[in-house]
Structures are given as C-alpha cells and as structure tokens.
C-alpha cells in the first residue's frame, strides 16, 4: 500500500496550508447555522407544554455539553495517533483541543445551573450529568496543567497523551458510577431531555445548533492548530516562506 499520502498529511507545512484552506469552509457554515438556529429556536419553536419558554435553554446547553465530550474524544484520538505513530502534528492537534473543550465544559455547567434554578428551585443539584461534567472539567484542567508543567515539548506531548488516553478509559466508568451513586441517593431526578417525540420545529433548531457548534469547533481548532504548528516549527525554512 502506498503510504505517501499519510506522510504528506503529517508534514507540518502541508497541514498548515490545508488547515488554512479548510478554516473558512467550516467557519462560514458554522456561523450561518448558529445564527439561523438562534432565530428558529427563539422565534419559531413553540413553547414547551411543561417548561414553557424555559426549554429554550436546551439550544445552548445541549450543544456545549455535546462539544465538551466530543472534544475530549477528538483530543484523546489525536493524542493516541501522536503517541503511536510519533506524529508531531497530531500532538499539536491534541494540544489545541484542550482549552476549547474546557471552555465548553464550563459553559455546559453554567447553563445547566441556570436551567436548574427555575426547574429545581436551586442553582446546584448533584445531578449525575452536572456532577460528571464537573469531573470532566477537572480532567481538562489536569491535562492542561500537566502539559504546561513539563518544560520539554516532546515529553509534555507524550506524557499528556498518556493522560488523555487514561481519561478516555475512565470517563465512561466515572459517568456510570456517578449515575449509580445518584440513583441510590435519589436526588431529585431531572431534565427530561430524552423525550421520545420532540416536535419537529423544536428539534430542527437543536440539530442545527449541534451541527453549527461542531463546525465552529472544527474551525477554531484548525486556527489554533496553525498557531501551534508555527510555534513548534519556528526556524524551519517553510515558515520563512509563509511569513515573508
């Protein structure tokens, strides 16, 4: 099998160029989708029969919660690729995921709390979803702290990659154990998000938001990755061509 495409993909100048070309192709659809989902979600979707207008929280809470978990998956996959094939570009990709993922985990916590106040009467309930998100945020912070704690870049890359993979094995166990813990202590059970029949004009803006946020993440990550690649490759001749 011909592997040249793989090595071409892994070469920093190629990645830098491709990422630059791809960014607008993700960014513009993302902006378009998010703006129209905002309009559809806030104006067109009918109020919920149980939660009234309060259900519109889902259009910001669900996308950020989805991103927080998906970005961790992307980060761990990139880290594993970097570790197994010793691919520096993959480590750059993993490094550029962490801050984005942490920021959306934070958003999902804040919006979850703001949703909780009118629904449960208090900002914080030890709801399994919120608790698991809190642990996820700590995992992200640990990953970033470990990365910045090691001076040597190559070592920081590989050590944090091992941590990301450990985290991926642990996340399902943590989520399961937190849910189990919650079911035993019977804290108020909550947010009925998985309703079988969400009417189409409620569901459509949600799906648009989910897709829009995913594309937005792709665009932001590509820009961060270009910065990361530039910083790692400083002094390389292709960088000279790029900046001049």
């Amino acid at each position: 099998m011909d592997w040249t495409w793989f090595h071409r993909l892994a070469s920093p100048p190629h990645i830098y160029r491709v990422a630059g070309t791809l960014t607008p192709w993700f960014a513009w659809p993302a902006g378009l989708l998010i703006v129209s989902a905002l309009y559809a979600g806030l104006f067109l979707a009918p109020p919920d029969y149980q939660q009234g207008e309060g259900f519109r929280m889902i259009y910001v809470h669900a996308p950020s919660a989805w991103l927080s978990v998906m970005i961790y998956g992307v980060m761990a996959t990139a880290a594993a690729v970097g570790l197994i094939w010793r691919m520096k570009v993959a480590h750059a990709a993993a490094a550029s995921c962490a801050a984005i993922g942490a920021s959306f985990t934070f958003v999902s916590l804040v919006t979850g709390m703001l949703w909780g106040k009118p629904m449960w009467g208090t900002y914080w309930v030890w709801d399994p979803r919120l608790t698991a998100q809190l642990v996820l945020l700590i995992l992200y912070l640990g990953y970033m702290a470990l990365r910045s704690g090691i001076d040597d870049l190559g070592r920081a890359d590989r050590a944090s990659a091992v941590l990301a993979i450990i985290g991926v094995v642990n996340l399902p166990i943590i989520r399961y154990s937190v849910e189990w813990w919650n079911s035993i202590h019977q804290a108020p059970s909550v947010m009925k998000m998985e309703r079988p029949s969400m009417p189409f004009d409620m569901l459509a803006p949600l799906l648009m938001m989910l897709l829009g946020f995913t594309l937005l993440f792709a665009a932001v990550m590509l820009v961060r990755m270009r910065a990361e690649v530039l910083r790692r490759e400083r002094g390389a001749s292709w960088v000279k061509e790029v900046v001049s």
């Binding site: 998010i34 806030l42 104006f43 109020p47 009234g52 207008e53 309060g54 519109r56 929280m57 910001v60 809470h61 950020s64 801050a99 984005i100 920021s103 959306f104 934070f106 958003v107 804040v110 919006t111 703001l114 949703w115 106040k117 009118p118 937005l216 932001v220 990550m221 820009v223 961060r224 270009r226 910065a227 990361e228 530039l230 910083r231 400083r234 002094g235 960088v239 000279k240 790029v242 900046v243 001049s244």
Partner: protein, 56 residues
C-alpha cells in the same frame, strides 16, 4: 417584543445562559486568532533578526 424578552418569566435565566455561551464562543474565536497572529509575528521577528545577521 416585550413578551419576547420576558420569555415567560424565564428571562433572568435564559438570557444570562445565552450571554455566557456566546461570550465563550467569541472568546474561542478571538483567542484562536490571536494565538495565530502571535505565532506569525514571532516567526517574522525571528527571521528579520536572522536577516540582520544576529543569528546563524
């Protein structure tokens, strides 16, 4: 219009949530672009220093 902003009494929770979300979205976009600009500027500085003969 006023009804819209009142959001059936949920305004105090809904609008801050939207504000936080889009503030973080904006931060992500700005921070990523700034990181890229800084990396470019640093590379530029480095190569102009090279041209002056400071570095090998």
């Amino acid at each position: 219009m006023r009804d819209f902003f009142a959001m059936g009494g949920y305004a105090a929770f809904l609008w801050p949530a939207y504000a936080v979300t889009f503030a973080v979205v904006a931060w992500n976009i700005i921070a990523a672009r700034r990181a890229h600009q800084q990396a470019l500027a640093e590379a530029r500085r480095r190569f102009s220093a090279d041209a002056d003969g400071d570095a090998p």
